[in-house]
Symmetry: C2
Subunit: 211 residues, 2 copies
């Protein structure tokens, strides 16, 4: 059992190192040697868990994103807003998430690593929330949940890329707040709008509450 | 003179070939040999114009984007919408633009190629239009032109990336129309809104009019 747990811990160490290296260098420029050096594990341990660079990329992308850790809210639009702000917060210091997002927007990664999968999973989760919002009467009748979510996911992908290029994501939460201030009035019924908190410090407040 | 014109034509051939190769393979995986093969020019001709891969990337990114070719409109918001739809159209078949956009979102490109420069130029042009829209009373008082434009440019960067990954950009015009339908009501004064044409075939109609 102790041995198995050591295995799980080693796998995690390797994955986090791979996430950090992919984040910094992208798919094409990353080598197994760079991940080995970062993870400080033996070559044998790494190849036991991951036979190739591709399998490392796939595992980083398959990592469960922190969507489910956001508290359930009675208002589903608020929950969706919270998910995006918590992601923006975690993108500052979670190596696995950073690596996953980098790979997801990395057009150099081979098709076999399914780099669009991460976006698909996020889009699925947000669509599920938006459909609940519809059932609860939170949405304007013009909203098509899937279409709105794909627009949001695409926009967020580009906004974080721009924020990373310009400020190493220091202004990401602000940029997400600007996006919501432009988009929420076209999604939420007017009565709900003033009650949704989409200020740029929303993510840090929700994260704090999570402890 | 004939010789000088031949030089200009050769430079253009090389640039378009480089755009196509950067678009398909990204910065890291592109080699001078690939550009040579695509351009069908001599090694001497290529190195005469571009001493390195970096200088090729810089020239592709420095290419004047087709922003200025969009007809001037009395309504500046309409002109801004037109610019985005024409860009979406050209992204289907203009190798230089495709290469430039790919490099702009390519996080593998070295700092020295200033890949954020392309976005900055587009943002400057759109901000200039939005400031004119403000002077003409087209904007809601809540709009901060620069902030709105940076949100739009970031969003469009991500939306085209997603559209490329999912459909080779076949649905890009539709995705741009979805974005505008969510964002315009937060930008335009209500009276103007129904008069702005942001349907997904807007780009092909404007391009047709241009001949």
């Amino acid at each position: 059992m102790a041995r198995q747990q050591r295995g799980i811990r080693t796998r995690r160490t390797i994955l986090e190192a791979a996430g950090a290296v992919f984040d910094e260098h992208g798919y094409a420029a990353t080598t197994i040697a760079m991940v080995l050096e970062r993870a400080e594990v033996t070559k044998g341990a790494l190849y036991f868990h991951f036979p190739s660079k591709e399998s490392l990329a796939r595992a980083v992308l398959a990592e469960r994103p922190p969507l489910e850790t956001v508290p359930v809210r009675p208002c589903k639009l608020q929950e969706m807003v919270d998910v995006t702000f918590v992601l923006a917060c975690r993108l500052l210091d979670d190596p696995l998430l950073k690596g996953g997002v980098r790979l997801a927007v990395d057009q150099c990664a081979p098709q076999s690593v399914d780099h669009a999968g991460l976006f698909r999973r996020w889009a699925d989760h947000l669509t599920w929330l938006l459909r609940q919002a519809r059932e609860q009467g939170e949405l304007l009748p013009s909203v098509d949940p899937r279409e709105t979510v794909e627009m949001l996911v695409g926009s967020l992908a580009g906004i974080q890329l721009m924020s990373r290029a310009l400020t190493e994501r220091a202004d990401l939460a602000h940029r997400v707040a600007v996006m919501w201030s432009h988009v929420l009035p076209s999604i939420a019924v007017p009565g709900l709008l003033p009650r949704i908190d989409a200020a740029s410090d929303r993510g840090s407040r929700v994260t704090e509450d999570l402890g």
